[in-house]
């Protein structure tokens, strides 16, 4: 049995405590160790709020969140934050250090780690994101992709078991986005890092192990990407699936099931051979 590293039950949250309007209503889900979960939904569906709740930046109105077996509350939030890290959309506004390595060390300084160990951790984290050569550079002078790597390293240095990405790739150009995604995937595979990625990028979501679909503060679906995209036709599907649907409208011979790029190309090959 795989361990559940995140468990959210009956979570309720509203920004304005005076009225009854809830940003998140009765959210229930759990995430297994080493899983990659994509959280999708429109602006205002409560995705970013969920991210903030998971790391204890906001206080829930009702329900419970447990991270790595620790029940999140005001007393445990500092302990919980050692196990769960949050990468924000805009890394630039969060740099504390004037060099890359100083910034990466910030989280370690906060837990009062001795210098020797801190030095090793910083080195290790920089290696993971492939930034070792830039350790003495000023983080605010780096390219967008590199900045986000610095932010990521700052969190990896704390060796969390869960990484939450709050639209962490949206500010990047497509090239750096792909590269960073690759790094994250390696982390997910090799170190068994659990990743919860809040995203608008459907091609990225399509490659997740599981998709959580939020609509107006409610969790409306949770399942494999192929199922979620087939069931919810209103979602903008990944490119290959969009192409399949477009072809299906024109020709009836096109299969009516969700297709990844691989599957679509294979099908085209087969249909070509048949002719």
């Amino acid at each position: 049995m795989t361990a559940r590293v995140v468990e959210v039950s009956n979570l309720v949250f509203g920004y304005d405590k005076r009225d009854k309007e809830q940003t998140l209503t009765d959210i229930n889900f759990s995430v297994n160790k080493g899983e990659w979960v994509a959280v999708i939904g429109h602006n205002g569906s409560g995705k970013s709020t969920l991210a903030k709740l998971l790391v204890g930046l906001l206080e829930m109105d009702d329900g419970s969140i447990s991270i790595a077996g620790i029940n999140l509350n005001d007393n445990t939030k500092w302990e919980v934050r050692r196990h769960i890290g949050l990468v924000f959309q805009n890394p630039e506004n969060q740099f504390v250090g004037t060099t890359v390595q100083d910034d990466v060390a910030f989280g370690l300084e906060n837990i009062n780690m001795p210098y020797e160990e801190m030095n090793n951790r910083v080195e290790e984290a920089l290696k993971m994101v492939d930034l070792s050569e830039l350790r003495f550079h000023d983080p605010s002078r780096l390219s967008g992709g590199q900045k986000q790597r610095v932010a990521l390293a700052g969190i990896l240095a704390l060796r969390p078991s869960v990484l939450v990405l709050d639209e962490a790739l949206v500010m990047l150009d497509p090239g750096s986005r792909r590269e960073l995604l690759l790094t994250l995937k390696q982390l997910n595979k090799s170190s068994d890092m659990t990743i919860i990625s809040i995203t608008h990028d459907m091609d990225e979501a399509a490659e997740a192990d599981r998709i959580l679909l939020l609509e107006a503060g409610r969790l409306v679906d949770s399942g494999k990407p192929s199922d979620v995209f087939s069931k919810h036709q209103q979602l903008e599907p990944p490119f290959s699936e969009a192409l399949r649907r477009m072809l299906k409208r024109q020709k009836n011979t096109v299969p009516d099931t969700y297709m990844t790029e691989e599957e679509l190309v294979n099908w085209l090959c087969k249909s070509h051979l048949k002719m």
């Binding site: 790391v55 924000f88 605010s140």
Partner: protein, 269 residues
């Protein structure tokens, strides 16, 4: 803003660049105090030799230091003039009511001038050869004893270093907003004072708004990375006291003895 030299860092490899910021700060502050020991041309001469050697060791061109004095020159001349006009004694050259220009006045005017310029030169040496962040670390280390008085030294120095780190961002942003408003037809530095003040609104408001956003992001980021004010923190940036630093303090002591020997009337009047 580009003309200001005092407070700026010039990257380099000189012996002064390699020194510990604590040593430089201590020596700098001590120099300002010890200046007041000098009271004749011999002791001022020694101070000048010391200052010039230190400036030479910094590896920064003399012209840069001269530029550093320039913005303050009127303040200096004003003080020197007052000193000349209101000191009496010795041979009197001019005497109109309370105003006298005397032998003593002129000499003490020259001393005051030297003091000012040397203070500026030495503080410029410290900032030119020390990264702002090292300076903050140095100040933090030297102010540590104040923690006993419940002064939040660590918090203040973290605040300082974060502000330092945002300065380049803020300058970039200012440039960007200015360009954007220029592209919308604003002309800066045109018209009377009131009109010029008005053109500042479209720059400052956006900067203010974005700074608030930054501050919120920063607070969230710091909190998720476990920052709690008042908690015990370790430091990644290590200051290393080296032999040259001890040497520097030693030099200051020798300088003090030199001044005591050279000054008129010994150390005690």
């Amino acid at each position: 803003m580009n003309k200001l030299i005092l407070g700026r860092f010039f990257p380099g490899e000189s012996i002064l660049h390699q020194m510990d910021p604590r040593a430089k700060l201590l020596a700098g502050v001590y120099f300002i105090l010890v200046l007041f020991v000098a009271n004749n041309w011999q002791s001022y001469g020694l101070l000048w030799i010391f200052t010039l050697v230190v400036m030479y060791l910094s590896g920064v061109k003399f012209s840069v230091y001269i530029r550093g004095v320039r913005p303050l020159i009127w303040l200096i001349l004003f003080t020197v003039t007052l000193q000349i006009l209101f000191t009496s004694g010795g041979k009197i050259y001019l005497d109109v009511g309370p105003i006298t220009v005397s032998n003593f006045g002129i000499i003490s005017g020259i001393y005051i001038f030297c003091r000012f310029v040397m203070i500026i030169f030495i503080s410029t040496v410290v900032t030119l050869t020390t990264k702002p962040i090292d300076l903050t670390d140095g100040i933090n280390a030297l102010l540590k004893p104040l923690k006993r008085l419940k002064i939040p030294v660590d918090e203040i120095s973290l605040m300082l270093s974060i502000s330092l780190r945002f300065i380049p961002n803020l300058l970039d942003e200012t440039q960007k907003v200015m360009d954007a408003q220029r592209a919308r037809g604003t002309e800066f530095g045109e018209g009377n004072l009131l009109r010029q003040m008005k053109t500042l609104v479209p720059i400052f408001l956006p900067l203010f708004a974005s700074s608030l956003n930054r501050a919120e992001d920063m607070a969230n980021g710091m909190e998720t990375r476990g920052y709690q004010s008042g908690e015990k923190r370790s430091t990644f940036r290590q200051l290393a006291w080296k032999r040259k630093d001890t040497l520097c303090i030693g030099t200051m002591i020798i300088l003090t003895f030199g001044l005591i020997v050279l000054r008129t009337g010994g150390f005690i009047h």
